[in-house]
Assembly symmetry: C2
């Protein structure tokens, strides 16, 4: 499986190898964070972000996905009633005349709108883009109000569980490739969740709101979730306790078999459908060689209203190798599921297009890497410049300008100092501090002899090259390094 | 200069070669455009967009720029009073508690805010991102309310005109690389514009608003601009006429010399400074070999308030090679200038950081390419899949799943149909319609013999390969093609 092969540079490997070490307390606040809960990305952060996105998008393309883009804002009416309780977290635009608009909350609903609007019945696409949520920003955990999502979805009517299994395979490939340490993917099915609610005695009108409470189990203790369900949402205490018994269950395919025998759950048609699909899913995951990464977990509910079938969520497992290490909680780093009804909500005739997909929480992943960079003072090169055009003499600006234009025109990445008469030492220091490997030096003697000098910054060796051979010589050296 | 070498694929070259042909009248409305003035990008559009962005970003990196990102929205107070008359076109977010926010109008003001906030005195960065403007969308001309900008800027105190000349060199490299046909870069200087206003008798309080009117000269006739200045903005008719004489002037470095001799303009200190810098700029542009692409044009004003020195704008020249061709107007495709005061507006002590930069109007460029694609029914591949895993027999889903996982794990781009028992013909048709070059076929006989067949879709040749050699064989074939 492609791992660091996709990520060039040893600095990056060194950086990722530190991921299992916890951050120190003093460096958990992010740099560049604004009062409005967003942040700038500095050049160093951008390098990390681009490497992560490259790996994710490569994986999506490896699975045959097409790219797509939708606008940052949608008609507000398109987004309402798609998300459930979290809809209040949408950013609305001010009414300045025209339609009422909201910033997109995820990439899934715009995708469904796109399919319905263009009457697309079948599509495998990826989408990388920003989404916005008015959540209380808890920056330490890597939650911002603006963040980047990387989604992969398969739309279309296909034989059961084949696309679903591919989504889980993709999550495994990406998390393996990023080398974030050990991980686990929790799997459940919305029909099992609903079946569980039904057999426990939850009134059907409360299914979605109780589902939202259960979704908080990864952040809140059971007793607090139970309190929310009973005191705030009016669920009978014995009903809550019956749910409590189920949500403790997690395991492999054997738990699926066990739930088929469960005296209550096995009486529910929906739950049986979900269990049947999970059984098939595990069969495919075994063929993909990833079954040991998957855990059937009855506490997994997923908060969004639109899921209708299998749901999943990947969590990093912190394996403390040293006694003094604190467990690191970063929440889920990837999640998704099946949503067979969403496209139909946008179609005037209600025509459905079944969909299944996943979203990579790249922002969380960035934050893990960034924290480590800060802790260890790790630096990455933020430019790709290969050559500095320099001079040891005054009044050589014209020669430098002619020379650098030649290099640019040949596709060579080159810089020069923006000074009429820079000192040679300043120019060489600039190469050392920014990691430029080669210097092309032109001075009085070189000009007279029709040559230029090429200097290797690392070895400090200099050789004179005929001026007309310069581009070829640099290209030769760069291809060798 | 790297041109199509950076852009892989003959389809793309074919597509770009059609750029000088005008679109037919029936296909000038963009697909996927929404009532709110935005649009979706389909997979085919995304391929074109990514190729354009790759070329642009490669050029920025060739010139040593670092990447950076800022949030989609800024504090409203950060953006106000930076743009001038167009400020009313900003999208505000609804007040849902907390700070008042607006969507960014360009990438320049957030960059200046970033420099001031982080006390950065020197930086060469590029930024690719979306910006939003509440303009009346004229979709035919390629103007949307959401569009992508690609900016390159050099911040810092340097010797005059060296970074400015580099910005113009970059614009030339990108426009040459994109092969959009012949182009011209108009250059002027804000100090010359203001000097011209002063010597023509424009009251200083009206400089910026008259500048906004002059900026419309590329879209409006002089008589309409004159009418706006006189009737709407209260300029004396004889003042307007004096401006009218100047704004007709355009030419090369000789026009700079001529303006030095102009009896009125040569009395203005500001104008003389601007002319002096332009003279130096032309000297550097000659060394870069691009002086013939540059036109000193006194009608160029640039609408935004923040420019303080040299300003420029690239326009495509439509050279009708056939008599029946209509001229194609796409407006400017790249523009920029020097803004030495903007960073200081964000700094509590007013510390200035001189800046110069450019913005590539990639959206306009996309639209030119898209129009041609629609006109000529040109298709580009929207996936990169190399192999389809297929079977001629029923009940081979398990074998296909095992096989495709092996390919994915080896980094090979592979797909399979999501059906338990697809027909072989359907599978082969899928390859032909989506451009997949290779098919791996596993059936009863192959399974018995421990082989798989590799079929070339183009030649229809099939060879049997030992199952354990499959990955190596595919990698060999892909590296040869």
């Amino acid at each position: 499986m492609p791992q660091l092969g996709l990520l060039a540079g040893r600095a990056w490997a060194a950086l990722l190898s530190q991921l299992l070490r916890p951050p120190c307390a003093s460096c958990t606040r992010a740099v560049g964070c604004h009062s409005q809960g967003t942040r700038d990305l500095s050049p160093q952060q951008m390098v990390v972000r681009e490497k992560i996105l490259d790996l994710v998008v490569s994986c999506f393309k490896r699975h045959g996905a097409k790219g797509m883009d939708t606008p940052a804002f949608e008609l507000k009416e398109m987004l309402t009633e798609k998300y459930g309780e979290v809809s209040g977290l949408m950013y609305d635009l001010k009414d300045q005349g025209g339609e009422l608009l909201s910033l997109r909350y995820d990439l899934t609903v715009p995708f469904a709108r796109y399919l319905a609007m263009n009457k697309v019945k079948k599509m495998k696409r990826y989408h990388v883009g920003k989404v916005w949520r008015r959540e209380s920003p808890t920056i330490v955990q890597g939650r911002y109000r603006e963040f980047c999502q990387c989604d992969f979805d398969i739309a279309g009517q296909f034989d059961p569980m084949i696309p679903d299994a591919e989504c889980l395979k993709i999550m495994c490939e990406i998390l393996n490739g990023l080398q974030l340490g050990d991980f686990l993917i929790k799997v459940n099915d919305r029909r099992i969740v609903d079946g569980m609610f039904a057999v426990c005695g939850v009134p059907e009108s409360k299914f979605r709101t109780i589902c939202s409470s259960i979704d908080k189990l990864d952040k809140m203790a059971w007793k607090d979730v139970r309190h929310e369900m009973v005191s705030k949402k009016g669920l009978a205490p014995d009903v809550a306790d019956r749910i409590g018994d189920y949500v403790q269950c997690h395991g492999g395919v054997s738990l699926v078999e066990q739930m088929f025998q469960d005296p209550r759950l096995s009486q529910n048609k929906q739950a049986l459908e979900g269990l049947g699909d999970l059984k098939l899913l595990f069969e495919y995951l075994t063929l993909f060689g990833i079954a040991e990464k998957i855990s059937f977990d009855l506490s997994l509910a997923r908060g969004l209203d639109y899921y209708t079938g299998v749901i999943y969520e990947a969590v990093l497992l912190h394996t403390p190798t040293q006694a003094e290490e604190e467990p690191l909680s970063v929440g889920s780093v990837a999640a998704g599921g099946r949503y067979d009804g969403l496209v139909g909500m946008f179609d005037p005739k209600g025509h459905k297009v079944p969909c299944v997909g996943l979203s990579i929480g790249v922002e969380r992943i960035f934050n893990i890497v960034e924290q480590r960079m800060k802790t260890f003072g790790e630096k990455v090169r933020t430019t790709e410049t290969q050559v500095l055009v320099a001079t040891p003499h005054k009044n050589f600006l014209q020669e430098r300008l002619k020379l650098i234009a030649e290099l640019w025109d040949a596709g060579i990445k080159a810089e020069m100092l923006y000074k009429n008469n820079p000192k040679l030492l300043t120019q060489l220091h600039y190469c050392e501090s920014t990691g430029i490997p080669l210097v092309v030096i032109v001075g009085e003697q070189e000009l007279k002899e029709g040559v230029v000098k090429i200097r290797s910054v690392a070895s400090r060796e200099e050789v004179a090259i005929k001026r007309e051979n310069l581009v070829a010589e640099i290209q030769k050296r760069l291809s060798e390094s």
